[in-house]
Amino acid sequence: MTFWLVQALNGISYGVLLFLLASGLSLIFGVMKILNLTHGSFYLLGGYFGLVVLQETGSFILAVLGASLAIALIGVIIERFFLRRFHLQQLPQVLVTFGFLFIFSDIATVIWGANPQTMPRPELFAGSLQFAGFYYPTYRLFIIGFGLCVATFLWWLQDGTRVGAMLRASVDNEEIARALGINVSLLFTLVFGLGAFLAALGGVMGGPILGVYPGADFEVLLLGFVVVIIGGLGSLKGALVGGLAVGLLDNFGKVFFPELALFTIFAPMALILAIRPAGLFGRE
Amino acid sequence: MTALSVIDISRNFEGVQALDHVSFEVAPGERRLIIGPNGAGKTTLFNILAGSYAASDGRVALFGRDITGLPTYARARLGLSRTFQITNLFYRLTVLENILLALQAGRGAASPVLRLLQQDRTLIARADALLEQWELSELAKHAAQDISYGQQRQLDILLAMAVEPKVLLLDEPTAGLSAAEVPRVLTILRSLPRDTTVLMIEHDMDVAFELADRITVLHQGRLLAEGNVEAIRNNPQVAEIYLGID
């Protein structure tokens, strides 16, 4: 019983990190129709920047905020100067975001080396909590809680605020939105920045349990894809459900079928494609 | 046997009833005009007839054969052809190549088997002949994106005609054309073979009344009236829905 609970919690906490990543990806696509291949880099750089801030200041909060904001800024620059000109042109967007993925990947290796690095847990959550007869790392529980808070915040942002309404208007009909005086270009840039922020957040928060290492960008990008394939591109709900699904599947897959790790993700992905190609909550 | 039977077609989009139990029949060779104010459901009807999307309810039959579940390409192979409200061409290909693609489909080269022969010379000859007939020969080598809007509109219609369809759906063929360009398209429409059944959506009332054998009037998704030109011209309800808007 304990075993199942522990594994489930592991899967859920991992799934929450995937949600953070996928929500950004989904948001960017849902609003701007851009499939942001650089998203993996945002995660990776988030982890590395977080490590640097942590090492310099010793403060986990500063690491989380500082890294995420820094990456958000990088995202904003990329969108403004390299992507805005290719509005709604898929192939150039792929080329640009793919290009940055590779550039950042190599730069990270140059700066931080090829060896995996560990990030210490914040002191407040460094221990374990005891419940239901076993101990479980507090930090993972914190991630779950934090992730759900972020999900709630994003939900509120999307459905409950004027900004969200402007966003939805811009998605539905860009021309009319502009005619109504909505600064669509600025909105898009901010959305891209937010997406990058979320990815970096995942990278820093994930650091203490997954480590920070070269290649994480490609790994996590792939998993992000699987999440939105299952959950539906452009849907927040899909990112959450998909994230949790992939997190649990990946975790249990590694435990029971370690040699077939990728199959446990491949099978549900193939299933979704066969039954509902747009994803569980995707729009047709 | 009727060429096209529309049986109780309904379609709703997230609560909006775009079409509400529309039924009518078109006789072979007939020129049926579909008119109605904006939002009446005309293009939705066409998209359902063509198979672009499914009806929520109802059936469509082509010469007695139920085509309700068939995808667009299957309906095309059965002889149902359409034009598009927003011109839909192979823009980066030449005008000649556009026609060739249409002719190639009609010849059943639509199966993806690699042929060992290069582009059929007879096909090219036929394409050249068609362009001659429609007085577009000098545009043959021009890319479709480089010709004028009026010429593109013509090409859109000609692509649908090149496959020699049994039933032709024309979606606002004169849309966006200047007054000078309309006669050219009218000539093409008048020259359609008599054994081809034609359904046409049209906003230009003069064009509609000139070409029609019978007219079907849609209003807010429902069939409001149906009859020959005289009957519709004198129908007070029809006048009202149009005058009411104007």
Binding site: V94, F98, L262 | S52, A76, T94, A109, P112, K141
Partner: protein, 322 residues
């Protein structure tokens, strides 16, 4: 201004250039050292690889991110068949192509349930599954260590292609056949229909083409040619590793197509030559090849999205105007 239809003078110039290229290629093994001949072999193989991707991207309009899967699957197939079953090249090569065809059919059936960005993601995900198998199934594939010591093909019991020159001609012949077949596909009614699909799927549907079937066929045909390139690469390197299937390999071939000019067949061949040569030169000075690739990606997007061929065409067109 016409977008298509070369004038007859351009066509005859093209034929002359082609003849010259063939002559030069035939003569090279007598002029170059082993090292440089190896480079030419790589260029030939990657030209075929890139041209096959062009069929998908340039002609059908289906951008795909995980294309190296087919390159790698065929390479592994040929390597395993040659080493574990000792099949000769006459058996192993066709068998590998059939295997690639089957994998492509499976992947295609899944991926073609989608289009656009979903299609991009799924093609990448599927190729990563293939990579995962190559990497994880150590007992079969050797995992990260790969399959070493693949023998050079033997055309007959007493005709091994051990020498550089004979192997070169083997490669040249097969690549030549592959390119000819691809050119034929592209100029056939089938290829013509693919271009129509690229321009407007909805119009093709309305004309009566079963678009899905065409896309699947294009997907499989392209993959088989990619597989041919992969199998030849395995014979050339005498070694296969998961890199053959990896994201980076997919990214490289995609860049070759775009850099050279999609939709032209000759463009990707040029792109392949540029990238292979560039990599060779640059890796002598630095390990930072990924940064170079990434930068070229961005530069191409910004300044030459139609690639080298497109750039040259525009240049000529502008000169003709003035």
């Amino acid at each position: 201004m016409s977008a298509a239809g070369a004038s007859s003078s351009v066509k005859s110039r093209g034929s002359a250039a082609l003849l010259l290229t063939i002559l030069v290629l035939a003569v090279l093994p007598y002029l170059l050292s082993t090292y440089y001949l190896g480079l030419v072999i790589e260029i030939l193989i990657f030209a075929l690889f890139a041209m096959s991707l062009d069929l998908l991207i340039g002609y059908t309009g289906m951008a795909s991110l995980g294309y190296a899967a087919y390159f790698g699957v065929a390479a592994y197939a040929v390597g395993l068949l040659a080493m574990k079953l000792h099949w000769s090249v006459w058996l192993a090569l066709p068998a590998a192509l059939i295997i690639v065809g089957l994998v492509a059919t499976l992947f295609g059936l899944l991926a073609l349930r989608t289009r656009g960005s979903y299609f991009l993601m799924i093609t990448l995900a599927l190729s990563q599954v293939a990579w995962g198998i190559a990497f994880g199934w150590r007992s079969l594939t050797g995992g990260d260590d790969g399959l070493p010591n693949i023998p050079r093909p033997e055309l007959a019991a007493d005709w091994p292609l051990a020498g550089d020159r004979s192997f070169y001609f083997f490669i040249l012949l097969l690549v030549g056949v592959g390119v000819l077949l691809l050119a034929h596909v592209v100029t056939s009614p089938f290829g013509f229909a693919l271009r129509g699909i690229r321009e407007s799927e909805t119009r093709m549907q309305a004309l009566g083409y079963n678009v899905w079937r065409y896309k699947l066929a294009a997907f499989i045909v392209a993959a088989v040619f990619a597989g041919l390139a992969g199998a030849l690469y395995a014979y050339y390197n005498r070694f296969v590793s998961p890199d053959y299937l990896g994201v980076f390999r997919s990214a490289e071939v995609l860049l070759m197509v775009i850099l050279g000019g999609a939709g032209t067949l000759i463009g990707p061949a040029i792109g392949a030559a540029v990238i292979v040569l560039l990599e060779n030169v640059i890796s002598a000075y630095t390990e930072r090849w990924l940064i170079v690739i990434g930068t070229i990606y961005i530069l191409v997007a910004l300044f030459a999205p139609d690639g080298i061929v497109g750039f040259v065409r525009d240049f000529h067109a502008r000169r003709a105007k003035s």
